[in-house]
């Protein structure tokens, strides 16, 4: 348990630093690459929790596909590749206030409700259980999500093509 806690705090420190760099760096490509660090840290936390299927899905879908999409978006909008102009507007203090207020409220609610609840890990969750759940109890949401993905695909193609 001690080793898991140490690993958690190491990953959490990397994720926090990466998240702060994502929202503050003046180089657009670097922001996307810092996002990779946060996502990889999230996958590591999932493995730490014994939930490995979603961890690998996170690696494949987020780091493999979404980040590549982001880099394409950066290139296609001809974003400045070097840090030549500031990428943050002058709303720093209102933004900070909103973020602190929200995160503070969340943290207070969490501490109030789950003050000392422990996670007792018995065994890793196997992929078979996820398959059973998705194709039995959550079959209708699964199909709906499939239709939504198809609609998003067609919508993105229709919007982005030149005619």
């Amino acid at each position: 348990m001690v080793a898991q806690n140490v690993a958690f705090w190491i990953f959490a420190a990397f994720m926090a630093a990466g998240a702060i760099r994502v929202v503050t760096t003046d180089n657009i490509v670097h922001a996307a690459l810092w996002l990779v660090l946060v996502l990889a840290g999230g996958a590591a936390q999932f493995i730490l929790l014994g939930q490995e299927f979603v961890a690998w899905v996170q690696v494949i879908v987020y780091i493999g596909a979404v980040i590549v999409l982001f880099l394409f978006g950066i290139m296609l909008t001809r974003a400045p590749m070097e840090a030549e102009e500031k990428l943050n507007n002058n709303l720093r203090w209102p933004g900070l206030a909103a973020a602190l207020l929200f995160a503070g409220t969340l943290a207070w609610a969490f501490l109030d409700q789950w003050g000392s609840d422990k996670i007792k890990l018995t065994k890793p969750v196997r992929t078979k259980e996820i398959g059973d759940l998705v194709f039995r109890g959550y079959l209708v949401p699964f199909e709906v999500v499939g239709v939504l993905l198809l609609a998003a695909l067609i919508g993105a193609v229709v919007m982005a093509r030149k005619d």
Partner: protein, 99 residues
């Protein structure tokens, strides 16, 4: 491990995402900040799933992941369209609907 350490990490990531959405001047970076928030939500789902010792948290996290992928695809298409029409990726410039 305490459940709370995961929840507090996710609260921090969500707050950072809010800050990014408010302060970023490039639409792709605003979308990246939205991704930060979705990752925070996923950590919550998986942590609660691990607490309950079943796979439901993972199933919900998978749904969130799917929606996030669809959102990025459509979002970047919209960003591209705005850039093509306005020659700018700054969300402040897309103010045609402003009264």
């Amino acid at each position: 491990m305490l459940l709370n350490q995961f929840l507090l990490l996710s609260a921090f990531l969500f707050g950072t995402g809010i800050y990014g959405v408010i302060t970023r001047k490039h639409t792709v970076l605003v979308l990246a900040s939205v991704e930060l928030m979705l990752v925070a939500v996923n950590i919550n789902m998986v942590a609660f799933g691990a607490t309950l010792n079943n796979a439901v948290g993972q199933v919900f996290a998978l749904f969130v992941l799917t929606i996030a992928a669809a959102e990025v695809g459509v979002g970047l298409a919209i960003v591209l369209l705005i850039y093509r029409n306005l020659r700018s990726a700054n969300p402040d410039d897309a103010s045609v609907l402003k009264g």
